[in-house]
Amino acid sequence: MDWSKVFLETLISSYSTISRIVLIFIPLIVLIECMKDMGWLNKIADRSHGFTRLLGLPGESAIGLIVGIFTGVVLSSGVIMEIQQEINMTKTQMNVLFLFIGICHGIIEETVVFTSIGVNGLVILASRLAVALVAAFLYIRITRTIARFSAGVETEAR
């Protein structure tokens, strides 16, 4: 194995990933801080309450969800870690949030990349959104069933 090649390519790949993140991340976090200071974040949280409640999430997580869907996992996890310090989501809510973002993220960049080799971007986009919703709902349903089951076992034991 050619180790020098491995190190070199790791450096190049890390550099391109990190520079892209730095270029987007700092303006994005500053923008979110500005929105927080102007009170827009609360407005967005109120507006998107319908959709986030569908997934059993608090309204404040909407900004993380939006950033995740339009940019990528790395940026959204940074934003979500910021939000998490303030609103303290439960482990289940975090799992639902990242399940959705994990399946359906970076829709602009990735759809453009795939469309450039001649694939119908709409098919990819629609199936990703649908799959993400189904996976999130399934996870919520399964955790609820498990919680109900274990609660039932506890009451029976008494």
Binding site: M1, V6, S13, T17, I18, F25, V30, E33, I117, V123
Partner: protein, 141 residues
Amino acid sequence: MVTKQTVFRGTNKAVRLILNLLKYIIPSIFIMKILEHSGWLLKISDFFAPYMAYIGLPGEGALVLMFGQVTIFSGVAAMTILNLTAKQLTIMCTVMSISHVLVLETAIITKSGANGLLNAASRIAASAVTGFVLNLIIPGV
């Protein structure tokens, strides 16, 4: 009110978050590069090649999906070399768009406080199911 302080605070936070995430990004990229150059990626794709027929792809499709784990662009580059029909391209792109760069993204997701293993497993399962369903419903070859 937005003041100079807001910009400073935002920049400070962003730099701290980036430094925090770097510890996870660089090792993940390093691991994938080792896998790529040591030939393990080929071995893994050989293992999965027989199962590709279930989602309507040729055996080489496993290799493309594995290259998609390094970066999404190397996956796309590998895809253009193969001679795929329009249906196969659509399936391949959808499957790859759901489960790509899993090592890096799972590391980041675990770092942010969610269950990474659950996330990666459900992404792989979701991509397999999506490929299977798309193979059934897309008309043509």
